[in-house]
Amino acid sequence: MTPDAEQAVAAAVGAASTVVPVGAGTQREVGGPVPTGTEVGAPSGIVAYDPAELTVTAGAGTSVDELDAALGAHAQECVLDPRDRRATLGGLLAVGLSGPRRLRYGPLRDRVLEVRFATADGRLVRGGGPTVKNVTGFDLPRLLVGSFGTLGVLTRVILRCQPRPALSRWYRAPGEPDAVRAACLAPSTITWGPDGTRVLLEGHPDDVDAQAAAAELVALPDDGPAWPDAPHRGRVSVPPGQVRQVGAGLAALDGVVWLAEWGVGTVHVGAATEDGLADARGVATAAGGWLLRESGAPTLDGFGVALPASEVMARVKAAFDPTGKLAPGRLPIPGAGVAAPGVVSGGRIGGPARA
């Protein structure tokens, strides 16, 4: 990709009256409905990769598969782990969904060092910086992660990489997931569901063996548990201590399959019917959490919950997209698209576009 390609994205965004950022389409059904408008994609390709820096610069349209192949050649990885590896970096960051190794490696947002994005008025803006440690200015990269394309269209990102573990192996645990957590220093994933507890251990082979022995784990021949698959899918987010309650609630529902990330608080849910996913949302809400619609369930609200600190969010939205042209409806921002910049900002923000 070239800087010109990014400028072309910015020009397209600036010219369109309604912008629909698109990647590989793997997250299209996540959250609020995709509006109709001008579809804008990001350039793809790896721009710079120096294994000794443990960072990689790539077009936001680059697929996770392509990134993995480049990093894998140097025994490195960037922990993204989407369900569908055709997903683009920009799409993945826009929906902000962390993969199942979050327990050990932290959320997606911690891996983004720098972003470049096209603004509603057609400019290219850069936030963050290329170094692995940086507190220069406000954290635009974190703001963009999970913003569903409603603040700008990502064109280029710099991500943090890490050495690939020498060994990754899945296990079945005979007992409770808490026992695994106590016995193992840093398991990469612990799943808990109707089929019991599964564990992913990564690291030096001798350490993996020793940890497995200490927790009385039984090695599995496969790649671990299957993520719930059904016509209607969502993910529950609850405080980690509430996962057991959510599991009990989901187990009582007909036609609902689920798998929890223990210690994280994410519960993946699949339902045979749209009503089933709505019932699962009820279970999540009762446990103090919420359910994000990930696919199917076309008449179900994408989020089913009011946004916290919604006044500030509305002001952020108005500051970056005063006319509400970017991915309208993808996030339930109160007043998005109708806010007059002068009212929201007292005249200080959301002013006329820079020439």
């Binding site: 959320p107 170094t131 200015g137 913003s147 030096h204 994000l292 946004l307 500030v312 500051a319």
Partner: protein, 432 residues
């Protein structure tokens, strides 16, 4: 100046400031190094040091709710019996507050593997500039909408005041090994840093000290550092037995390959503590050399570390200043330390000129202005070195969305003219 003792009192103080349309500045222990908490103009100064309770510790969830005035080290000490600690460990950790750490997005030697403050803050109760209270983030892994928690951390008090913080606690590693490697040139030490990372090792900490500071520290604490070394590396590896043992051998091999004269592995916890005492006493040690110091904080790509370090020495020579370097080499985070006597006539312009030259050298090498101290007042006017007008405008929009009234610690971080259409804008091109 006020010392609120509850979140409600913080909100009340902010509300009073709002009623009189006066700016306010939050302040913790005042250990910040970039002037972020320095009152400018006539603000209401809201000191959070009386909000110093650890409210709740949940060992199963590994989360603690704390008030902003809790000292960083006190938090780690209070959970050590649970086999847990709070990972960010700035040098001032015995004195600095969690609230200040949140404001500056503070780091420390052990942030190489575990990340800076932003990776360890889960949720915040904040008082916004109109006196209203909001919760940002949460204990559930994801929240719907924008990551306001992520924006607030590192915003240096310009988006509001945190009154309650939920932090992630980290399990103590099973095995910790600390090594001291000694070199006859900074180039060799720098090449070893790159070699360690290239070997697929991300140590828990990877610190470098140059000749002058090594000697000063050794004279001060007697940690057994080689007084004739051109540079030493302090490397800490942690995790599980086999992995750590293998990494110790690899680090030893990489060091030898680049000409390390000696590789000392701390035999026990006492020796490990002694090696760290040397590193952590660096700023005390220099008081024996000169009464004043100016500590910088810049980050460069790790592969350009040596090149920039040599430039730093050249700058010191040009300005006829003593410059020492003790820094987080593993993540390219340089801390040039200018040691001087402020009573010496004409020294200040040389100190500030040297600082400016260091910033420019780092930016020219693809670096950034700050890795962990923040921008505050100190580097505010250098922001255009790394950000263009559109980038600064976007940051101003974010800041103003939190505080449209411009009352929360104004005049920090963003230089005048950041907002498009703002009066006094410096013409494009005049900045760089």
């Amino acid at each position: 100046m006020c010392f609120p003792a509850s979140p409600a009192e913080v909100a009340a103080a902010v509300a009073v400031a709002a009623r009189h349309d006066r700016p306010f500045v939050a302040r913790g222990s005042g250990t910040g190094l970039s002037g972020g908490a320095t009152p400018v103009g006539r603000p209401v100064v809201i000191v959070t040091t009386h909000l110093n309770r650890i409210l709740d510790v949940d060992p199963a969830a590994r989360v603690a709710w704390v008030e902003p005035g809790v000292l960083n080290l006190d938090l780690s000490r209070s959970v050590s019996h649970l086999g847990l600690h709070y990972a960010p460990d700035p040098s001032s950790q015995a004195a600095c507050t969690i609230g200040g750490n949140v404001a500056t997005n503070a780091g420390g030697p052990h942030c190489l593997a575990s990340g800076v403050t932003a990776a360890h803050v889960l949720a915040l109760d904040v008082v916004l500039a109109d006196g209203s209270i909001a919760q940002l983030g949460g204990l559930e892994p994801d929240q719907p909408g924008y990551d306001l928690r992520g924006c607030f951390v590192g915003s240096e008090g310009t988006m509001g005041i945190a009154t309650r913080v939920a932090v992630r606690l980290t399990r103590d590693p099973t095995v910790v090994r600390t090594l001291l490697l000694d070199f006859t040139s900074v180039e060799a030490a720098g090449a070893t840093v790159s070699g360690i990372i290239a070997a697929g090792i991300v140590p828990a900490a990877l610190e470098m000290m140059d000749a002058e500071i090594t000697r000063a520290v050794e004279d001060y604490v007697g940690a057994g550092y080689p007084r004739d070394a051109a540079a030493v590396l302090l490397v800490e590896l942690d995790g599980l037995e086999a992995g750590v043992a293998a990494q110790v051998e690899e680090v030893r091999a990489v060091g030898r390959e680049h000409g390390a004269r000696s590789v000392r592995v701390a035999a026990d916890e006492r020796e490990r503590a002694l090696l760290w005492k040397g590193r952590k006493s660096a700023f005390g040690a220099i008081a024996r050399i000169a009464p004043d110091y100016y500590l910088h904080d810049v980050v460069v790509p790790r592969t350009r570390l040596v090149e920039v370090l040599l430039e730093v020495y050249e700058i010191a020579e040009e300005q006829r200043l003593t410059m020492m370097n003790v820094f987080h080499a593993g993540d390219g985070n340089l801390h040039p330390l200018i040691v001087f006597d402020a009573r010496e006539p004409g020294v200040w312009p040389r100190v500030t000129d040297a600082g400016d030259a260091i910033l420019r050298a780092c930016v020219a090498a693809g670096g950034v202005l700050s890795g962990e101290h923040g921008i505050g007042l100190e580097k505010r006017d250098a922001m255009p070195l790394v950000f263009g007008p559109d980038d600064l405008d976007a940051q101003a929009r974010l800041r103003d969305a939190f505080d449209p009234w411009g009352r929360a610690n104004p005049d920090k971080v963003l230089p005048r003219g950041s907002r498009c259409g703002e009066l006094g804008v410096v013409p494009e091109g005049a900045w760089v």
